[in-house]
Symmetry: C2
Subunit: 456 residues, 2 copies
Amino acid sequence: MARNTQVPADHNAPAITRILAEYVAKHPSRGWNDAVDHEAHRTFLNWLGCAVGAAKHEAADAAIAAVNELQPAPQATIAGRSERVDMASAALVNGITSHTFDFDDTHLKTIIHPAGPVASALLALAEHKGMGGREVVDALVLGIDVACRLGNLVYPEHYDRGWHITGTTGMLGAAAGCARLLKLDAQQTQMALGIAASQPIGLREQFGTMTKPFHPGGAARAGLMSALLAAKGFTASPRALEAPRGWAQVVSTKTAWNEATDELGERFEISFNSYKPFACGIVIHPSIDACVQLRERGVRPEQVERIELKVHSLVLELTGKKEPADGLQGKFSVYHGCAAGLTFGRAGEDEYHDDIVTRPDMVALRRKVVATVDNSIDEASADVTAVLTNGERVHIFVEHAIGSLQKPMTDAMLEGKFSSLAEPVLGAAKTKQLIAACWGLGQASDLRALAALARP
Amino acid sequence: MARNTQVPADHNAPAITRILAEYVAKHPSRGWNDAVDHEAHRTFLNWLGCAVGAAKHEAADAAIAAVNELQPAPQATIAGRSERVDMASAALVNGITSHTFDFDDTHLKTIIHPAGPVASALLALAEHKGMGGREVVDALVLGIDVACRLGNLVYPEHYDRGWHITGTTGMLGAAAGCARLLKLDAQQTQMALGIAASQPIGLREQFGTMTKPFHPGGAARAGLMSALLAAKGFTASPRALEAPRGWAQVVSTKTAWNEATDELGERFEISFNSYKPFACGIVIHPSIDACVQLRERGVRPEQVERIELKVHSLVLELTGKKEPADGLQGKFSVYHGCAAGLTFGRAGEDEYHDDIVTRPDMVALRRKVVATVDNSIDEASADVTAVLTNGERVHIFVEHAIGSLQKPMTDAMLEGKFSSLAEPVLGAAKTKQLIAACWGLGQASDLRALAALARP
């Protein structure tokens, strides 16, 4: 998936993050001369005077009115936890958790994960305000439409530059959705988008750390606060997205303006949203899907002599780890993915636990997988043959994996995925009720009932 | 101050901010087919399952522990207001108010306003925790050093691209300062810088709106939260600043790494901080300074036949408004600046109120100012001659204006500026006490006493 990019990368930069961290943590107290120390006092005095002087300005009034909306906490649910917190913090945490397993939805045209920023902001706001589900569904469709259209506008140049596009468009989707939920008029909504435009959150360098899921969380929080600020009269540039020094031109050299407006209100980007059936990179999905189908055809691990896997070269480049040592490494192993699919008929988060990845039967089975590169096979496809100990050969060709736009997960599959995630946290009974509440979202009279079901 | 930049500007972009705002505000509820509406329910269900499933992950624990630090509110003072709010919101609002009048400090090498993000975060955290002043001064010096060094690393390319550098380096300064205040070790401090690196806040397109001062406020908030998250074990890339897809290389094509580390711990960027004596753009300051000096030499407005002003062409380009209609326009009028300097001996926020700018004697006096371009005079200088009704000529040449690094404001001048800002809000007695508390910051045993003085 590497692409050419116009930005020259410097791979030999000194470790300034570490150097500055050491300095901040270890430089002695007052480790400078009196002039520097006095300048610090002058800086503080001058700063405080400016802050006090503007304390009655209308910008202060608007900002304080917005942050006062967060009081008194608790206001909103953290899904899967008993704690409730202020709604901005709930938006942040739910945005983090929903992306923590990299198992959330994907707008395939831009690889934005749109629900993390948008739904996290909406649920927190709607729960606190006791809003109805119809309004939430409307805001979700429109918020995701804004985020993904703006993503189309800058993708792929923006992503290639190094931005984690989920958090750098997500604050705009969350702002749009929350503006809708708050029934802001077009002028206030324009201000909400403008305030959000100043707050893109996310660098691809963070992949592999907790700050990756922080990006949709931070975007949810920023979008919600932008809408609250706009509702209180806070102002922003009316051309914050498109102006020469506005969002699009600052974060991207590609600006396909038509993507924002073509078929607006007729084509909805949520239609191109997809859901992962397997808790790993999408490039492994066709191979796992094939092995799940082998299992459905009656093939059992103990019958298997060898699994012949033919895939595009990219699959082995990205996920060719033959002997993964733990769950995280397992996610980069097409061999483990095949073993899990054949053994369990699925590859959810549970099948990537350390103790599953290191289980002797799994280790043995994945060693029986013989992968061959065949670039006549598309990245989205996989050709798998199980050679059994009795000599029989069972062949499966997957053109499009389950979860792709061409072969979406069924509602029943989504329920199964939900249950596998939620039951360990909420128990079977509550999980079942919560699924029903989600399907009934559009008819819900008050989101507080649904939110309550998401607490253990 | 225009510079060449490699980014081609598109001045003819369609008004997508407005178009999307209209769409979000006005598209009818359920204005799409059933498939779209069902996809919204699938998106919501899938998102909620992912959030519930990761609810017990260590990332969730760390994030919840950090946001719980904001409870129970109120915790911290909004300077100049009686309200107290949670410390993150206090950091946000104080960052906004301290930059609202554009009257705060300036690191002239980068035009970063460093105290807004850094001091706003520190005061909120220190007040809530009852910390001592010595720690705050240390954190202020180090936090500003980090923000401004990183500014030096990317300036001017980063600013020219369209970023408002105060908020795109400020979150790093605030994170560094708060990490220091929380006594985080080098490893945790590195994580705090890493988390903050994903959150640059600020577009120059917002200049002239409330979102401009939102930038230092948002940066203060983001930096404080980054330090709290790091303290609870939240992780980020250890090379978040310098990696190819890290902060510097994503937001700038200039990356002068040595700026981060040259003379680290020996040269402190706070030494290059400056304070504005006049509440307007710095390019007018030499002219105002000259008129204040004329007043000190005994020249009175009623004696004046004509004021001959010779300045660099930039002064009239940027601030050549001859007949400002209100206070905001007055800030872009060197003519009003001269009239205020001669009449009041100062040009603080009060002298830019609408009723001062439109007062007949001010209108009459500024019409007596005759400005001439003379590019032999530096941008930082002004040549002013008062021609009196008796034929006398009084000449002042200002090479460097008061407030410049060459001719800094004295401590007494800073006190005068502080009083002019704070007395209308806090009254004279409390203002005097607060000034004393600021000078004594390094000896303060508990920041709560100083914070209490900042409340009316």
